[in-house]
């Protein structure tokens, strides 16, 4: 079982790496460098702050692009169009093993991509003379956790949606909603007179969608560096466990759907 999952994961990284997916990291370097130069001139006094915020946002966006693009290629194109996978499924490979292998493969690819982009960012920070802090590594890790969750969502949506547009729009909606839904729920909980409709519209989604407010080290970076907020290792471990459990649960659901799917020519 492990060997089969590893074989699929290895194939995935090989395929995707050769599909020049890592070109995105060069683009990342270029865009981040551009913002670094622009901000030096426009945000005098706050260059460090702006550069950091934009670089983290870009890191997540580029990771998102790599993850969603790869998931689209390996799941939607292969499975939905039946090109090639039928030769796999007439072998002793279970469908959940295939999905798990694909997930680990893209997960490994994302880890390498983030490491390369993170290294590029560290280099740019050094070149610009900005201050480096070890907490940036925690931010990179949190971005990776978020991307793993989005990847699991992408696998499910790749199996469930019927077009390329609906796949990408749904994935981006989930990604965006995951950032704000718990904020909306917190506002609802604090409201003195919460109306029923808002509760119906917000609460189920807040429980169902991933909660990205758990990965907020980047948002609190100024407070942490200023000493107003203490970085919690326990919270970090909890968020890692949350990402793992959420991803596994979604993958298990995807595997259930996939096990019932027919591979049509």
């Amino acid at each position: 079982m492990i060997r089969r999952i590893f074989a699929v994961a290895h194939l995935t990284t090989l395929e995707e790496a050769r599909s020049k997916v890592f070109n995105a990291t060069f683009l990342f370097a270029g865009v981040t460098l551009y913002f670094g130069l622009v901000l030096t001139n426009l945000a005098q006094g706050f260059e460090d702050h702006f550069f950091r915020d934009i670089a983290f946002a870009l890191l997540e966006l580029f990771g998102l692009a790599i993850g969603l693009g790869s998931a689209y290629r390996v799941i939607r194109q292969d499975v939905k169009k039946g090109s090639g996978v039928e030769m796999l499924f007439v072998r002793p490979l279970r469908r959940w093993e295939y999905l798990a292998g694909r997930f680990f493969g893209i997960g490994a690819l994302l880890a390498v991509g983030l490491a390369v982009m993170g290294g590029t960012l560290a280099g740019l920070i050094a070149v610009k003379g900005f201050q480096w802090h070890w907490l940036y590594l925690a931010v990179f890790a949190e971005i990776y956790f978020k991307l793993l969750i989005v990847l699991a969502v992408a696998f499910l949506l790749a199996l469930a949606t019927t077009s390329q547009a609906s796949y990408f729009i749904s994935c981006l909606l989930v990604w965006a909603s995951a950032h704000v839904m718990h904020l909306l729920k917190a506002l609802l909980d604090r409201s003195a007179r919460p109306d029923v409709l808002s509760a119906i519209l917000i609460k189920p989604l807040a429980y169902l969608l991933p909660n990205f407010s758990l990965f907020s080290t980047a948002n609190h970076m100024d407070g942490i560096l200023g000493g107003a907020i203490v970085f919690s290792g326990a919270q970090f471990v909890f968020s890692a466990a949350y990402a793992l459990i959420y991803s596994i649960a979604l993958l298990a659901f995807s595997a259930y759907i996939f096990s019932r799917a027919e591979i049509l020519p």
Binding site: E15, G84, E86, M87, V90, R91, P92, R94, I263, P265
Partner: protein, 252 residues
């Protein structure tokens, strides 16, 4: 001994519509069996149900009724049975970024127990590449392969794990005349030298009559007739073509 058995097998596809889905019959009430060591041809017009029958047999799609058995079990639920099947789909495609050797290495690793370690797998890959005539193109990425080369790689992956049953969906599709002759020779050799049961579909009467021991004619999604080689060989009252036309016209 029966190696493959179709038991009252039916498949109804549901084509999604705006308000309700439309039902279309893939195959209806298919019942026949194939013996070990046979070369069995499935002959039918386009859309007659040949591919559906094969996909049901392989467990890629679920039957609406009945069942298809390989070695006495349904392939969909039994990985050990699937390990005994080699399959070549009509439009085989492979990851374009990988070489033929890498594709075969990956597929071999899925079913590692069939090979004597890593070296055993490498030896077997070398062997099948030679058998299908791709040994000189093994290090080229498959994105640069012609249709014929893809088809050969398809055959290579199908025989890599030394299956007992080879299921081939339109194996001559897209091949030039020389390729078709070579492919035919290869299937005969696999059947005669290694006792592999070969089940293949075709809409080419010539292909079926040249190598099949038996043939089933599928027309209008139903089994019309099962014929022995003696039924169409020289000296018999009807050619395979005459049988086929009779079945096809009966449906019209």
């Amino acid at each position: 001994m029966d190696i493959v058995r179709f038991e009252s097998l039916s498949k109804v596809y549901r084509l999604p519509g705006f308000f309700k889905s439309k039902k279309v019959s893939g195959v209806h009430d298919l019942s026949f069996s194939i013996s070990e060591g046979e070369i069995f041809g499935l002959l039918g017009l386009n859309g007659s149900g040949k591919t559906t029958s094969m996909r049901l047999l392989l467990g890629l799609i679920r039957p609406s009724q009945g069942r298809a058995l390989v070695l006495g079990q349904e392939a969909a639920f039994c990985p050990d049975v699937r390990a005994q099947i080699g399959y070549l789909p009509e439009n085989a495609s492979f990851p374009g970024a990988l070489t033929a050797r890498e594709v075969l290495r990956f597929l071999g690793r899925i079913d590692r127990s069939k090979f004597d370690g890593r070296m055993g797998l490498e030896r077997r890959i070398e062997e099948v590449l030679r058998v299908v005539g791709l040994d000189r193109a093994a290090e080229r990425k498959t994105s640069g392969y012609s249709k014929g080369m893809i088809q050969r790689l398809g055959v290579a992956q199908a025989i890599l794990h030394r299956p007992k049953v080879l299921v081939l969906d339109e194996p001559a599709s897209g091949l030039d005349p020389l390729g078709i002759v070579e492919m035919r020779g290869l299937f005969l050799k696999l059947n005669q030298d290694f006792g592999i049961t070969v089940i293949f579909s075709s809409h080419s009467i010539g292909e079926v009559e040249k190598i099949s021991h038996r043939a089933a004619i599928i027309a209008g999604n139903r089994l019309s007739r099962i014929l022995e080689r003696e039924d169409w060989q020289a000296g018999s009252p009807k050619s395979l073509e005459a049988h086929f036309l009779e079945c096809a016209q009966a449906v019209d």
